[in-house]
Symmetry: C2
Subunit: 146 residues, 2 copies
């Protein structure tokens, strides 16, 4: 069962400048940064609020680290903006199987590694009214920034 | 101060079909529906989770009700997808003034009426790394669907 908006994934050309925009404009601070080599991105997680399922909602700022990454291709086509949305669940395997059974294309055979040790999968945007949709089960999280 | 992801605004061609997609696929139920004549949209709010500032996070599904609405034009250009993101604040007037002072273009001189009696304004996407960004102060909310 999906119990929260886990994050909004935002693609940007320059992660440091975009992080600085969110800090200077709204006061949002970086909670975690990492490079995900498999996804081909460098990312910053900005924690916005806690959620009533015991999790939290983040902005995930994504900068491609190689030209053949899906985010690099997406940026070349669309420019900066919202790349995907992610719903949090306690059991990404079960929810991925459930939506697959309902006819929604799930992009990975098995969930892969996402931000902060989470396990993630993606649903095909053409099956989701144009929205690239991620399902995510978080690992216990701790900020890397303190 | 912005204290939550209030909603993700998703533009669609057919509200009823899109509502049914989110219900059938994920079990998300409609919390509220309304027509906002000023914005030129018919909309459904799906409540996803509560937030630790005492509010909640929603998906806001938007169908244009006239061809000259901004959402209709956006759909004609982009197709279905994420149209905007919204951050919740206790004081949209103060936050709008604050970001305007920082050089971000605020699209309304004064906040206007948003979903469920809220007061909203929008920030220019070109000043926000490509993301059309809404600031919203909610009114006390109650579902229209029970």
């Amino acid at each position: 069962m999906l119990t929260r908006i886990d994050h909004i994934g935002i693609a940007c050309f320059d992660l440091d400048r975009t992080v600085e925009f969110y800090r200077a404009t709204y006061g949002f601070e970086v909670f975690h940064t990492e490079v995900n080599e498999e996804q081909g991105v460098r990312e910053a997680m900005l924690r916005i609020n806690g959620t009533d399922d015991g999790g939290a909602s983040y902005l995930q700022l994504l900068e491609p680290v190689r030209e053949d990454s899906t985010v690099a291709k997406w940026l070349a086509k669309n420019g900066e903006g919202v790349h995907h949305i992610a719903f949090g669940t306690a059991d990404v395997d079960a929810d991925a199987a459930d939506v697959r059974e309902k006819g929604v294309r799930v992009l990975y055979d098995e969930p892969r590694r996402g931000s902060m040790g989470s396990r993630i999968t993606f649903l095909h945007p053409k099956d989701c009214h144009g929205v690239l949709t991620e399902l995510v089960t978080s690992a216990p999280v701790e900020s890397t920034e303190h």
